[in-house]
Symmetry: C2
Subunit: 153 residues, 2 copies
DNA sequence: GTCTCAAAGGATAGTTTTTGTCCGATTTAT
DNA sequence: ATAAATCGGACAAAAACTATCCTTTGAGAC
């Protein structure tokens, strides 16, 4: 139950682009080096993002990648789904439309709810939000987690 | 981004037990057949649930499994974490405590939020809830999803 | 006691997904 | 032309998931 590295790399790569001038063309090699992401892997990830219309690419000498939209208009959900495919918790209604599990459909409902909840978190956050130096007061999850770690150690 | 089959089987297996008389001992073979889950696999899954104290087992002739607590006291989160391990979205603070990603910590925060959101959904729902014939009005996610399917097809 | 039944636990194997790598093709600027 | 850079597909290694099998352990029946 995790985001894949590909998804994570995708977001980090996009944030790298977002930190620059709006239409600046950046080579995969630069992003790869600065974010410590394997180059060939990042290239594949960026390909998906191009297909999804999130970044645009220019080939040839002097080419590279740039965001296709403003960071405010790119949600983390868009990025993750472009890379990993649509978030789909419910096996029932995706692969097995004829859910035969006794009482299984209640589980399907729950999985649907979980999925919606996750999607909401990822869709309400844009790249621009992630670039802001601090999270809003009362929503600082990093601090919360550090506290938890302190408790258990 | 999915629950594993093991997790799903675990919940379905437990629901099977929950539908019976409180302390009735049920053999793995019965559950396996009724829920159409591979027997050996379910055996492994139930082992995890025993270790987690969610079910109790009796060996030997006439033995089997029964819930260790009332269905109202078993949350889906407990079940999933017993089988799949703790839900942990944040690679940063789990495996790589020294998060070096430029701007990566904002992502860590977001993943933390996603994780909490998911956990809440799974922890607020118990086996007893899943046994209820209908979900509460206004929370019928199944209907919601069927509508979505109807739209896209 | 010993026989049988059923779970416990470990080893192992097959499949799928993830995480890359490599290389030739294509496009672009110079 | 040539060099630079992405595109696209094939391929490979590693990890996770999904089982299966077999021996051991514990409990009850006789």
């Amino acid at each position: 139950m995790q985001i894949t590295r590909a998804g994570e790399y995708g977001v980090l790569g996009l944030l790298n682009l977002a930190r620059r001038a709006p239409a600046e063309l950046v080579m995969i090699d630069d992003v790869s080096r600065q974010e410590a992401i394997p180059k060939s892997f990042l290239a594949k990830i960026f390909q998906s993002l191009v297909k999804a219309g999130i970044i645009k690419s220019t080939r040839g000498s002097g080419g590279g990648f740039a965001l296709a939209k403003a960071p405010e208009q790119i949600s983390v959900l868009q990025v993750i789904e472009a890379i990993e495919g649509k978030i789909a918790f419910q096996r029932c209604q995706q692969e097995e439309p004829d859910c035969e599990h006794v009482g299984g459909c209640a589980l399907c409902s729950l999985l649907g709810e979980a999925q919606d909840s996750l999607k909401e978190v990822f869709s309400k956050t844009t790249l621009a939000d992630l670039l802001k130096p601090k999270t809003a007061p009362g929503q600082n999850h990093r601090r919360g987690n550090l506290q938890k770690l302190a408790e258990t150690n």
